[in-house]
C-alpha cells in the first residue's frame, strides 16, 4: 500500500480516537495486510507523540483463547502504550470521548533490560524488574467493535487506557494466579493467568520475537501488558471497576 494512503488512514484512525467517533473498518475499502496495519499504527501513534505524549510501553492482544474467541481472530498482536493512556489507580475515567469501552484484568510487567528477537523464557524473565495487577480499557474505533486483523492492528489493537496497580517483585511464579474483574463489587469475570498461553511469561517471549522481527525492542523501563485471560466487559457511567490478581494485589477506577 502506498505511503500516502497509509498516512491518510492513520489520520482517520487518530481522528476517530480523538473525537470518539466510530468509523468503518479500513479493510472494507482498502486491501491491507498485517505490515500495512503496523505501519498505520506507527503513524497514528506518531501523531499522539507530536501532541506531547511519550511512549511508555507495549501491549499484547489475543494472548488467550477467550479473547481470540470473543473477537474471532487467532494471532497474537501488539500495540503501543502512550502516556496519555494512563489512568491513576483509584482514579476516575470519564466516558466522554470514548466510543464503546470495555475493561479487562491483566498482568503488567516493568522491564529492567531491553529484549528483542528470539529469547528463552528464563532469559525473558531475567529482564523483568517488577510485576503488577492492571486493568486495560479497550475501545475499538470501529463500528460495532468489529474488525479484521489488519484493522485492529492499525487501530493500535483497540488500546484506550490502562490502570496499573502497585509493582511487586517478580520472584514468585505468576503462571497460574487467580484473576478477577468486578463491577460494583460483583464478579463479572473469573479466570487464571494460565489462560495466557499456558503461562503469561510466554507472552513476553512472543512480544520479544514480534518486535524483533519489526526491528524494534521491548525497552528497559517500559511497561508490557500481557493480555487478558478472559473476555472484556462493557463499561457504563458510575461503575466502580476492580481487578484482583492472586498475590499481586489490585487495581481499580471509577467510571464517570
Amino acid at each position: 500500500m502506498k505511503n500516502s494512503v497509509l498516512t491518510k488512514l492513520a489520520s482517520r484512525i487518530d481522528d476517530a480516537t480523538r473525537h470518539g467517533k466510530a468509523i468503518q473498518q479500513l479493510t472494507l475499502t482498502y486491501k491491507l495486510d498485517i505490515d500495512d496495519g503496523y505501519e498505520i499504527q506507527r503513524l497514528a501513534v506518531a501523531r499522539r507523540l507530536l501532541r506531547g505524549e511519550h511512549t511508555i510501553g507495549t501491549k499484547l492482544g489475543f494472548t488467550s483463547r477467550a479473547k481470540m474467541q470473543q473477537m474471532g481472530l487467532d494471532q497474537i498482536i501488539c500495540g503501543r502504550l502512550t502516556s496519555g493512556m494512563l489512568v491513576d489507580d483509584g482514579g476516575t475515567l470519564p466516558l466522554a470521548g470514548l466510543i464503546h469501552p470495555r475493561a479487562e484484568p491483566e498482568i503488567a510487567l516493568l522491564m529492567k533490560h531491553d529484549l528483542s528477537g528470539p529469547v528463552t523464557l528464563p532469559g525473558a524473565m531475567a529482564a523483568v524488574e517488577a510485576v503488577a495487577c492492571a486493568i486495560e480499557i479497550i475501545d475499538s474505533r470501529y463500528q460495532n467493535f468489529k474488525f479484521t486483523l489488519p484493522d485492529v492492528i492499525a487501530d493500535n489493537t483497540s488500546c484506550c487506557r490502562l490502570v496499573l496497580g502497585g509493582w511487586q517483585r517478580p520472584d514468585s511464579d505468576f503462571g497460574n494466579l487467580g484473576m478477577m474483574l468486578q463491577f460494583n463489587g460483583r464478579p463479572v469475570g473469573i479466570g487464571s493467568s494460565a489462560a495466557i498461553m499456558g503461562h503469561p511469561a510466554r507472552a513476553l517471549v512472543a512480544i520479544s520475537q514480534l518486535l524483533g522481527a519489526q526491528g524494534r525492542k521491548v525497552k528497559a523501563g517500559s511497561v508490557v501488558m500481557l493480555g487478558s485471560p478472559m473476555a472484556a466487559q462493557p463499561l457504563a457511567p458510575g461503575m466502580h471497576v476492580l481487578a484482583e490478581v492472586e498475590r499481586l494485589g489490585r487495581a481499580e477506577f471509577t467510571v464517570r
Partner: protein, 264 residues
C-alpha cells in the same frame, strides 16, 4: 413421599449405569420444576445403593457457577452422593467403560475432621470441621442422552455424578487463597479450562456451608471423614478414552486424571 413414578424413574436411571442406553430427559414425566420429586428419586437410589453395600464417603456440590445456574434457570446449587467405589487417587487409571458420557471439572475437595450437625451451622463451624483440602477432578456423567438436562434431570440422576480423583498433598485452609486461587486444567500441555476459587459460589467454603446446612435439613448430616467436592472452578471439558488431564490449583498442588483406552 415416594410414588410409583419415582420408583420407576429411579430404577431406569440405575440400570443405565450398566446398559449405557441413555434415556430421554425424565423431567417431562414429572410436574414442572419438581425439585422435591427429583430429590425423592435420588434418595430412592441412595437407599438402594446403601442396602446393596456401597459405602457413602461424601457429597458433591453441583451448579455452583453463575453461568451454569443461569443456563439451567436456577439460583441455588444441588448435591449428589459420593460412594467409595467412585474414588480414584492421583494418576490411577480410570476405566473409561465404567463412565457415562464423561466430562471433567477441576475442584477443591475438603475432607472433614469433624461431623457437621445441628441446625445453626456457621462458616466458622465449617472451617473448624475441615481437616484438609485437596485438588480434585470430578468426572461427571449423565444417564440422560447427550446431557440434555434440566435441574430436575440432573438432581434425580445423583447430580450427574460419575467418578472423582483426589490429589494426595493435603493442605490446611490457611495455606492457600480459597477465593483467588488460580486453577487450570491442562490437556497435552494446553490450558483447556481455567478459572479461580471465586467461580464456585464466590468461595468453595460458601458452597460447603450450603451443603452442610442442606444435609442437616434432609437428615443425612456430614460426618467425620466425609469428602466434599465443592464445585467446578472452570468450564467442564469432554473426556475421551486415553485422555490424560492435569489440574493445577495455585497453592494447593496438582492432580492427574488418566482414562483407559485409546484415543478415537
Amino acid at each position: 413421599m415416594t410414588t410409583t413414578i419415582h420408583q420407576t424413574i429411579a430404577t431406569e436411571l440405575r440400570e443405565i449405569y450398566q446398559s449405557r442406553q441413555y434415556c430421554a430427559p425424565i423431567s417431562t414425566r414429572l410436574p414442572d420444576n419438581d425439585v422435591a420429586g427429583a430429590y425423592a428419586i435420588q434418595d430412592i437410589n441412595t437407599d438402594h445403593w446403601l442396602r446393596a453395600g456401597r459405602r457413602l464417603v461424601g457429597r458433591k456440590i453441583g451448579l455452583t457457577s453463575r453461568a451454569v445456574q443461569e443456563q439451567l434457570g436456577v439460583n441455588q446449587p444441588d448435591y449428589g452422593m459420593l460412594f467409595a467405589d467412585m474414588c480414584y487417587a492421583d494418576g490411577e487409571t480410570i476405566p473409561y467403560e465404567n463412565l457415562q458420557q464423561p466430562k471433567i471439572e477441576g475442584e477443591v475437595a475438603f475432607v472433614l475432621g469433624q461431623a457437621l450437625d445441628g441446625d445453626t451451622l456457621t462458616i466458622a463451624d465449617v472451617m473448624a470441621a475441615v481437616d484438609y483440602a485437596l485438588p480434585s477432578f470430578e468426572i461427571v456423567g449423565s444417564r440422560i442422552k447427550d446431557w440434555k438436562i434440566g435441574i430436575v434431570d440432573t438432581i434425580a440422576d445423583n447430580a450427574s455424578s460419575g467418578m472423582f480423583v483426589l490429589g494426595t498433598e493435603a493442605r490446611k485452609l490457611s495455606e492457600f487463597d480459597l477465593r483467588l486461587c488460580g486453577a487450570v486444567v491442562e490437556h497435552k500441555g494446553e490450558p483447556v479450562s481455567t478459572g479461580a476459587g471465586a467461580a464456585c459460589l464466590g468461595n468453595p467454603l460458601i458452597a460447603a456451608l450450603w451443603l452442610a446446612r442442606k444435609m442437616v435439613e434432609v437428615g443425612r448430616p456430614l460426618r467425620r471423614g466425609d469428602i466434599v467436592l465443592s464445585g467446578a472452578l472452570g468450564p467442564m471439558v469432554n473426556a475421551q478414552p486415553g485422555d490424560a488431564f492435569t489440574l493445577r490449583i495455585s497453592g494447593l498442588g496438582s492432580v492427574r486424571a488418566l482414562f483407559s483406552g485409546t484415543p478415537p
